[in-house]
Each structure stands twice: as structure tokens, then as C-alpha cells.
């Protein structure tokens, strides 16, 4: 004899949702979805600035407003082409090239110029009876072949 529970089971199977498989799919695609969400957040933040709207963005990207609606949901697997368009039109960082370009421009503007020559300051030599340790005096010795004599020069810093 078929019980009510069994009848129920056979009926409910027809109505089974695909919730669990959808849930699994979200977990499997999590890394992509997180990136997509971050992009959507950046796009929406930019669109809050005066003068911007989803309609204007759609026009400049040459896509339908419906496509912009999808992008800002943060659930789309965006192509690199779409990411480049968003980055360039909205001037927001999406790909690594955004910061690489900034760094390139930054280094291009940095110039190394020759600074002023160093001039040693005047100073009073310490008295000979002072207790300070003086640096060891060094001499340079050169032999002059013409005079055949040795010359001594005190070395200077």
C-alpha cells in the first residue's frame, strides 16, 4: 500500500527546485563573481558623480542600457573588451594596466638633475692640547724623475 508520504514524495519531485545546483554554481564561480561585484561597485560609485548616468555610459560604450543593467548587478562574467571600455570611458581602475600606465607616466616625469657642488664649510681646527682624538694625518708621496726628488703632499678629504 502506498503511504501518503510516498505519494507526497512522488509529487514533490516534480516541483523540485534547482536551488542547490544554483547555489553550487555560485560557490564554484565565487572568484569571478567577486571580481564582477567589485567592478559593479566601482562603476556605480563613478556613475554617482555629476554628469554620469547609465544611459550615457551605454551610449559611450555603444551597448544597450540593458547590458549596463547587467554589468552593475555584478553577476556577469565580463569580457576583457568590456573591462577595457569601462576602465577607459569611466577612468576607473579595473585592469592592472590602469596602475601600470600611471607608474609609467610618473617615472617619465621624474628627472635627475645635477645638484650644486659641495663646498666644504669653514671650520676652526681644534687646539693641539685638546683631548679630542684627531684623525690620523696622511701624506701622499710622489717621486719626480726630473729633479730626482720625493715630494710629500698632505692628503685632503
Amino acid at each position: 500500500m502506498t503511504t501518503k508520504k510516498e505519494i507526497f514524495k512522488s509529487l514533490v519531485s516534480k516541483e523540485k527546485t534547482n536551488t542547490i545546483s544554483k547555489n553550487k554554481e555560485r560557490i564554484v564561480n565565487r572568484a569571478m563573481l567577486r571580481e564582477s561585484q567589485q567592478i559593479a561597485l566601482k562603476v556605480l560609485t563613478k556613475l554617482d558623480e555629476p554628469g554620469w548616468s547609465q544611459v550615457r555610459l551605454a551610449k559611450e560604450m555603444k551597448v544597450t542600457p540593458q547590458q549596463i543593467t547587467k554589468i552593475v548587478k555584478g553577476t556577469e562574467n565580463l569580457t576583457i573588451e568590456t573591462q577595457i571600455k569601462l576602465q577607459e570611458i569611466l577612468d576607473i581602475p579595473i585592469l592592472a594596466t590602469y596602475y601600470e600606465r600611471i607608474m609609467d607616466e610618473l617615472f617619465a616625469t621624474i628627472k635627475f638633475e645635477e645638484s650644486e657642488k659641495y663646498t666644504a664649510p669653514d671650520y676652526e681646527p681644534a687646539p693641539s692640547d685638546s683631548n679630542f682624538m684627531l684623525p690620523k694625518k696622511e701624506f701622499k708621496m710622489e717621486y719626480d724623475r726630473q729633479t730626482p726628488e720625493y715630494y710629500y703632499y698632505p692628503k685632503t678629504a
Binding site: 509529487l11 536551488t19 560557490i27 563573481l33
Partner: protein, 176 residues
């Protein structure tokens, strides 16, 4: 409205008719998860509710949604009791209660709530859910609406003599 099975004859969900009554919405769990993973919806929700740090709010709810997804996966894969997620809606509820009103939350920091009726041990029917914006459900229109929905669902089961898993199955087969 109708009731559909999410998994393992343990977790069910209501599916409500669209406003014009011409067709059914997606089931409540899927509807909520679609909203809670929609950046545009969350950002707009934060604005409408005058949230001070909008992007932080959005990031928080997206993370909450991921946590619910992970928990549902864990519960379904390991066949763990649903009581790990659901607890009585009213914190002072103790002991056994027929058709207990329940709320699902992953942790104390969870900003999302799924509401359900407990039919029996390890058997729940989701009635809806909302972003938690106030301490009391009555203090925000969304949670207040969910409170109405869950109470209506409870009344609906009572009217149809559902009080445990057997009577629920019986009722369900009659519905079909």
C-alpha cells in the same frame, strides 16, 4: 502560492504569485539570493535607507550572502540538521512549539535573515527573508512585511491542520 522542495525533504520554500497574480515568482530562497548578490540592488537599498557608508554596507551583505550559500551547501552535502542555521524568531521562546516561527542567521554579525516555519525536527518551510535594518522586525517596513508573511504562513498551516511532518506531507499531497 505553492510550496516547493529545496533539498532532501527537509527544506522547503514558499513560492508566491506575482503581484498581478498571473504567474509565480521564483522561490523565496532563490529570489532573496538573487537580490542579495545584486550589487545594484544593494547599493540602491543602502541609499534609500540612508546608510552612511554605502559601499561598506554592500560589501558586508555580499559577504553575508556568500556565508549563507556556504552553509546551505554544507547542510545539504553533509546532511546536517537545519537547526544549525534556524533558531526561534523570538529569543525568549523555549521548549517545543508547534509551527514555531524561525529565523535563519549564520552568525551574530549576519545582516541577512531568512524566515521559516518549523514543521518538525529538521524540517522547515522558508516564508521569506530580509536585510536586517532594525533591532525589532516591526521597526523597518521590510522586516515588518516579513513578519506579516510568516504569521500568515503559520495561520495557513494551522487552518489546514498541519502540525508536524506527517500532517505536512498529507496537506502537501492534497495541495498537489
Amino acid at each position: 502560492m505553492k510550496i516547493v522542495d529545496i533539498f532532501a525533504e527537509k527544506l522547503f520554500t514558499f513560492v508566491y504569485l506575482t503581484k498581478d497574480g498571473s504567474s509565480y515568482n521564483v522561490n523565496e530562497y532563490d529570489r532573496l539570493m538573487d537580490l542579495w548578490t545584486d550589487v545594484s540592488y544593494l547599493r540602491n537599498y543602502a541609499k534609500v535607507n540612508n546608510v552612511s557608508n554605502i559601499n561598506q554596507f554592500v560589501a558586508g551583505r555580499l559577504l553575508d550572502a556568500e556565508n549563507i550559500q556556504d552553509l546551505l551547501e554544507e547542510l545539504s552535502e553533509n546532511n546536517q540538521p537545519l537547526e544549525h542555521y534556524f533558531r526561534p524568531l523570538y529569543n525568549d521562546e523555549t521548549g517545543f512549539k508547534i509551527l514555531s516561527l524561525q529565523k535563519g542567521r549564520v552568525s551574530n554579525r549576519d545582516g541577512l535573515r531568512i524566515y521559516a516555519i518549523k514543521i518538525d525536527d529538521d524540517c522547515f518551510v522558508i516564508t521569506g527573508g530580509a536585510i536586517k535594518m532594525s533591532q525589532l522586525m516591526e521597526d523597518h517596513p521590510d522586516t515588518d512585511n516579513e513578519l506579516t508573511k510568516i504569521k500568515k504562513a503559520q495561520d495557513y498551516f494551522k487552518e489546514n491542520n498541519v502540525f508536524d511532518i506527517d500532517s505536512f506531507y498529507e496537506f502537501k499531497s492534497e495541495m498537489e
